[in-house]
Assembly symmetry: D3
Homo-oligomer: 167 residues x 6
């Protein structure tokens, strides 16, 4: 039976660290489903449809990969797709306890779904989507932290104009 | 002189981990005051009045327990009630530094008020109100993490309908 | 060549811990530029202009110090001022990884800009602007954690009236 | 090509947490090699040969598993066995940085060898071989933390007699 | 029924932080048993008998306190003394996970024995017996970190003469 | 007055991470004293004299640097050399609390001596002398983590032969 793994995340935007994790997971699992979470409670940076589009272009040519999005419980989504594995990237200590909590909760709901943690390349240990968004907003060199198609996309996006502080 | 302890928190909603801490504290202190903080700056999940009602039903029959709410400084509230002890549950490393900061600040304001940390049962180490809220919102099995009266209450609450992502 | 150091922060409000770091940095560097970040995405407690005013009064008589504000990338601001050093105060583990991330990112953009971490006095290890804001809001004794001019300023500010909880 | 994974460790002694990780890894990889490290610098609790024997009995009937030991560099050992994956259990924050360091170093030496982190069952989050050794030494109930064959073995081992403290 | 609490530790030597925890626990519990662990596996700095003697002098006049030592399992010792509570001081994050592990293990063995964590005064957050031993060995000002009787005792102890490094 | 900084450490052996910190400190301070601690309680890997020799060769041509060793209290040594600053490298969270403790203790003894933390290059975040020793012992590629003269020296050192495990 082929091993199907889900790599869930907000990917807002996708960074080189995400791409690194996807590539590592291809060596371990037969199929990898990159699944964008539709988190309705936050103001997204990029709409979900654009994130899916960017992910699809980046993973073009990776035949084991499929890009999609989901709402609701990850565990239910995994069951529908007959995935046995959830992939998560582990970077810093501050991620670690949250990840442990999520993995234990998911296991509590579905003991058959195994969470597997991979480590990105050392160069990406401190890279996050939040850092990319902040660099982009401040006019910094975000390009070196994201794939070329993401860099292109972000370069064309209008930056919010900083207002005068009325204080 | 009887020892009076305050167990402050947002209890939004109360979880099995909170109940576990309340039961442990009953063995240590003569009176335990469960005190809901009225935090005006956040959007609550349950209104304070409902949280008090749920806590009252859960602690029904625990004669040492009294449920109430407070605004303003915890230290002032403790002084009015002649409480000598503040109870806090300790779970993860990420809680720890925040709890240390709060305890040191409270001690700075009133050196007589002692903060005592208890540890919930191992099963509840990674349980939080936030996790319950997220499971409830996503249609997950929140019931196993909360007392029965809370589960009943949450089952009857209308869930926010997830809109279509316009992106 | 004189060593010019930037001490960036939101200083909202400035605490005794910030003042402690400024005084320590004066022994190490020829010039210290205290630079208020204009973060447009957050609701500030004090407007940037008031923070600059308060910092100016507190550092009055410290001839090596200059107070200013900046928008955009810290690295670009440092280059314009010909600063070689960024000063950051290190308190708790929870700060630590974020600070490491910022320092590595800044170094990535400008390898010549060195981040130097100083440790505030042990008394201020758990002090933060957020703690001061919370004490102020709740009517607590915020005065002992801030310089006298800040205490004066905060005492004169109207406190937000707590509404009745409709729950 | 079948995926071969190595699960290295001192297993001194093997605990229920180790067995849990082995069982989880069987669902993910075609072959799992449990490899006892021969660490010459420490005083072992059990000799390596006994650890191998105990592991062999515990994994009897698990056809995908092979038990062995190795000296020298893990990366070289993995190459000889044509293993593509190293399995590590992740429990507490205190493990985490050490594990990150080891995984990054191994990757530095052999970029093809991927380290995969699994999480033991929540019941075993705080279980370690050191805890079992201490309980055994102090006459405590170590049996509930180890497989039955390990419990049998430890029950038959002579305990070091505590001498009189000459102070 | 009076609440009996055990404060176990190596107290090698006792520091001002230990005394602070003892004093705090007196306000919470009817009787406090300070119990020196006889750890045979380590080279002690002071013999157990001297540690008991010093603790007895320091707690002279504290009528609720009794000083003793124990071997074997803390849980068994607590049961013999009919103690319901174990007291532990919590200082740094690095202590925290170890303390959680010990408390969960003790609870696993005896669910009736509750571990209660107290926080020493902020001045003692980074103070440990190891620090005192190192300062003493290096000829540093250890006196400000220990009670006067301990300082006296350590001043009279012969310091190990540092040999010439043959390298 | 020139700023004199001490960079104390065991440097056993010196790694590329240490060299990186030395180079960064040269941009900040007028004189940098690299000071090998003579720790009598541990079995050193390299004798102190060899560590001094290697450090001297590595820092040859860095005119601001002086290499030496010291015994006793760092604070006393700093005073004798009229140094105002102690330099420490900060890598991981696990270092952090220990470093904070040492810095606060040193400041307690001599409030004039300031500890300054620098961050090594991201490539060296997880590099330590212990890692180099382990790689060397196991026959791994230690050379990429140390300066060329250290690699030469270690290559010529006889490796301890691994004995047969008698178990």
């Amino acid at each position: 039976m082929p091993t199907i793994a889900i790599y869930p995340g907000s990917f807002d935007p996708i960074t080189n660290g995400h791409v690194d994790i996807i590539q590592r997971s291809l060596k371990l699992f037969d199929r990898v489903i990159v699944a964008v979470t539709q988190n309705i409670s936050k103001h997204p940076f990029l709409p979900v449809a654009e994130r899916i589009l960017l992910l699809s272009r980046i993973t073009e040519g990776m035949e084991q990969v499929r890009v999609t999005s989901f709402t609701g419980l990850l565990v239910n989504f995994a069951r529908r797709l007959e995935a046995q594995v959830v992939i998560r990237g582990l970077r810093a200590v501050s991620d670690f306890e949250f990840e442990l909590q999520m993995a234990l909760t998911n296991r509590n709901i579905d003991p058959e779904l195994e969470t597997v943690f991979l480590m990105p390349s050392g160069r990406f240990i401190f890279l996050s989507s939040g850092l990319v968004r902040e660099l982009w907003q401040l006019g910094g060199p975000f390009e070196k932290y994201v794939p070329e198609v993401v860099a292109d996309h972000l370069r064309r996006m209008p930056r919010v104009v900083e207002g005068n502080d009325p204080g």
